[in-house]
């Protein structure tokens, strides 16, 4: 628990920073826009309508959408702060804009007529009458936006922005509910605190005393300054992702700091700790971005926002290279490594020694009752069975390929969160699931993985990828290159976290104790 609380301040600081920047930008867009459209009711309705449509896009989707959009335009990094701020800004516009339009249009017409009649210019009417009279309604809109944005900002984790969502996503995936609760509670307390301060400001303003409004404003400024500037400096920086420092591509100076990243499942949290431990023991500083989306992480590597992570050959083969499944393992690896180096200056350190492929798994008793060993056997009785898959599975090329190769037809298919999938089949909610072959829960839940004799599922060799900034650095490659993890060990390490509630760091330490030490020659490559 104390470890969790120690990691909190940097996350809280970047969360607050994200929220405040998004709110400031949203207000800077919404208020002038509201002023501009307030005399034209039809335009005002249209503008509020558009903002309303943006609001209906689910927060996570809007955030994820910003990554390819930014990658395409190329103005800003498609990773971390920029996509998060843009998405949250779009999200915050509606409440601010709608209240500003309502407030400005709701000003007593008699006051407006008197103001015009006494000789105020249109701008003076706005400044001296409409804005002050609409101020409480505008302030209420900003309050609503603040509470929403504090909540929505927790979804910035998968696009690579450190925030309180890191605890929520990681806690959910590795089933650390203490971590999850700390993240949720911190976000809730932050939202309530900001709301209370804004409410106090609003009341003081409505109370006609400018001086009294200064008190909550001052508390607000002090609190923000404390959380953003002071708290992280006091706390242990470890575990946080600092502000992104873009490094010029092709810099030849020896690498002393590496940004590593991981996706959103148990194995990846463990592998982050493995990479971190190897790099740190060689004296290289490490920044970590956890819980990234599968396509976000590769884009981030390409753009140099992430320097290293563990990828699976089949994922890039079908998602990034858009190739059909089929060729044998060695050819996939060879072609993939060539493509990564040529198209993206990304270096692969070769297969880690285990695969984490998609596989179809059934309960042992189901397998025994129907005599199931391979997908060919499964295809005979599939029409009487139901199949569960993770979020991606039924949309992926592998599913199409398996269906085609074995003529698989199931009675129903259902989508589950990956954390619930294994339990769903174990409890008999479904008869078969899409499983990951290195997952510890296969053994833990007495499941049987069915063979794929036609090779319809592409190979998923785990491999460390190095981004353009560190690809040519001999020391990083040397330190990470020697790692080998057999599939039994990876499965056991996964089970330690999923079944035994060990921390990813503990599972990583267990793995590292079984892999060879860092080659001594690596230290000779250290910067002088």
């Amino acid at each position: 628990m104390t470890e969790l609380l120690r990691g909190l301040p940097p996350l809280l600081a970047s969360h607050l920073e994200l929220v405040l920047v998004a709110l400031a930008v949203a207000a800077a867009i919404s208020l002038p826009l509201a002023i501009a459209v307030t005399r034209r009711p039809r335009v005002a309705f249209a503008v509020v309508g558009v903002a309303g449509v943006i609001q209906t896009v689910p927060g996570l989707a809007l955030l994820a959408l910003m990554v390819p959009v930014l990658a395409k335009t190329g103005w800003l990094s498609p990773f971390g702060f920029p996509p998060a701020v843009i998405a949250l800004t779009l999200y915050a516009i509606l409440p601010i804009l709608r209240n500003a339009v309502t407030g400005l249009r709701g000003v007593d017409p008699a006051a407006l007529e008197a103001a015009r009649g006494m000789g105020m210019s249109p701008w003076q009417v706005m400044r001296l009458v409409q804005l002050p009279l609409a101020a409480p309604v505008i302030a209420a809109g900003i309050r609503t936006a603040t509470v929403w944005t504090v909540g929505a900002a927790t979804l910035a984790t998968p696009v690579g922005q450190a925030c309180l969502g890191n605890y929520i996503f990681t806690g959910l995936q590795i089933r650390n509910f203490e971590m999850l609760l700390v993240g949720v509670a911190a976000a809730a307390i932050l939202a309530m605190t900001l709301d209370a301060l804004l409410a106090a400001t609003e009341r003081a303003l409505a109370g006609r005393s400018r001086r009294r409004a200064l008190i909550p404003t001052a508390i607000f400024v002090v609190l923000v300054g404390f959380i953003i500037a002071v708290l992280p400096a006091l706390a242990d920086q470890r575990g946080a992702l600092g502000p992104s420092s873009a490094v010029a591509a092709g810099a030849r100076a020896p690498v002393t700091r590496v940004r590593i990243a991981g996706k959103t499942f148990t194995e990846q949290y463990i592998l982050i700790e493995v990479l971190r431990a190897r790099l740190e023991s060689a004296g290289i500083a490490v920044d970590v971005a956890q819980s990234l989306g599968s396509t976000v992480i590769f884009d981030a590597l390409v753009h140099g926002d992430v320097d290293a992570y563990v990828e699976y050959s089949g994922t890039l083969w079908s998602n990034a290279m858009k190739r059909a499944s089929g060729p044998p393992r060695w050819r996939v690896l060879a072609e993939l490594e060539g493509w990564l180096a040529q198209a993206h200056q990304i270096r692969s350190l070769g297969p880690l020694g285990f695969e984490n492929t998609y596989a179809l798994a059934v309960r042992r008793d189901t397998a025994e009752r129907h005599g199931l060993r391979t997908l060919v056997d499964l295809s005979r009785i599939a029409p009487q069975l139901s199949l569960g898959g993770d979020y991606e599975f039924f949309g992926r090329a592998e599913w199409t390929a398996v269906q085609r190769a074995y003529g698989l037809r199931f009675a129903h298919t259902t989508t589950f969160d990956p954390t619930l999938l294994y339990e769903a089949v174990a409890r008999g909610e479904v008869d078969a699931i899409s499983a990951f072959s290195s997952d510890g829960r296969i053994a833990a839940n007495q499941l049987v993985v069915l063979d794929d004799p036609s090779g319809a599922l592409p190979p998923y060799d785990a491999m460390i990828l190095l981004g353009p900034r560190v690809a040519a650095d001999p020391r990083v490659a040397c330190v990470l290159g020697g790692l080998r993890i057999p599939v039994e060990q990876m499965r056991e390490a996964n089970a330690m976290v999923d079944r035994d509630k060990a921390s990813p760091a503990a599972a990583a330490a267990w793995l590292l104790a079984r892999s060879g030490p860092i080659d001594e020659s690596c230290s000779r490559l250290a910067p002088q």
Partner: protein
């Protein structure tokens, strides 16, 4: 002096004001009398250019208002409306000081003027200056409205049904005060009203509007004795009957 020469204003197919010509002499108080929809408010709003006419010309002291900047023009004309329209977020003092501040008067002059005016309308600044509009009665609010309209020493005062929302006792009190202020400050005043008795008791001359047209422009005496047409005659008849009923009621009680 205000001159309206053949002024018309159309809204869609209908006429709000149709070929109206009238002159308000310096120091005169003219009441524009009519029912709702008669065009009386439109007529007055064309004087301070809140509305511009489609045809005709409006001159103040010989100068066409259309050649003047509307915002600057309005600062030289006092304007009072029925709903008062005090700014609720400002004190009484700040409301009255608004036009002098727009005109960037020196601070001391503005303060002195606010004091004079609140005194003039019977709300001493020491008691009322720091109050907010919602702490005043309806009558007090309209007094502040009048003070605000007069703050920058306009020669011209336009009032659009200024007493329409007040209770009868307050209304009669304010009638007397308007008359006094009009005389003391030598204003040229145009007041819109739908109340014949108010027009008869206050105005030097009455302009009767009906369906956008000016039916008669005459002194109260002339209006009562020689109504120009049937409509005016009906108005006069109604006012007279009210007067008789009042007298009868008073007589029956004694």
């Amino acid at each position: 002096m205000i001159e309206l020469v053949d002024v018309s204003k159309r809204y869609g197919a209908g006429w709000a004001v149709r070929h109206v010509s009238l002159t308000v002499g310096r120091g005169e108080l003219v009441a524009v009398l009519g029912e709702s929809g008669s065009g009386k408010t439109t007529l007055v709003k064309m004087v301070n250019r809140l509305i511009d006419p489609d045809e005709g010309e409006i001159r103040i002291d010989g100068r066409d208002v259309r050649t003047q900047d509307a915002v600057a023009l309005r600062r030289t004309i006092g304007y009072v409306i029925q709903q008062v329209g005090l700014l609720p977020h400002l004190t009484v003092g700040d409301n009255v000081a608004m036009v002098p501040r727009l005109l960037q008067w020196p601070r001391d002059d503005t303060q002195r003027r606010v004091g004079e005016l609140l005194e003039l309308v019977g709300l001493p600044v020491s008691t009322y200056g720091d109050r907010y509009p919602d702490q005043l009665s309806g009558g007090q609010r309209q007094r502040v409205g009048v003070a605000r309209a007069l703050a920058a020493r306009p020669r011209l005062l336009l009032l659009d049904e200024p007493f329409g929302a007040l209770d009868p006792i307050t209304r009669v009190q304010l009638h007397g005060e308007l008359r006094r202020i009009h005389r003391e400050l030598a204003l040229t005043t145009v007041m819109v009203t739908h109340d014949m008795v108010e027009a008869l008791t206050l105005a030097d001359r009455i302009a009767v509007m009906f369906r956008g047209e000016l039916r008669q422009l005459a002194s109260p005496h002339e209006l009562m004795t020689a109504p120009a047409d049937e409509y005016v005659a009906k108005l006069v008849e109604m006012a007279r009957r009210q007067g008789e009923q009042l007298r009868d009621a008073a007589g029956a009680g004694s």
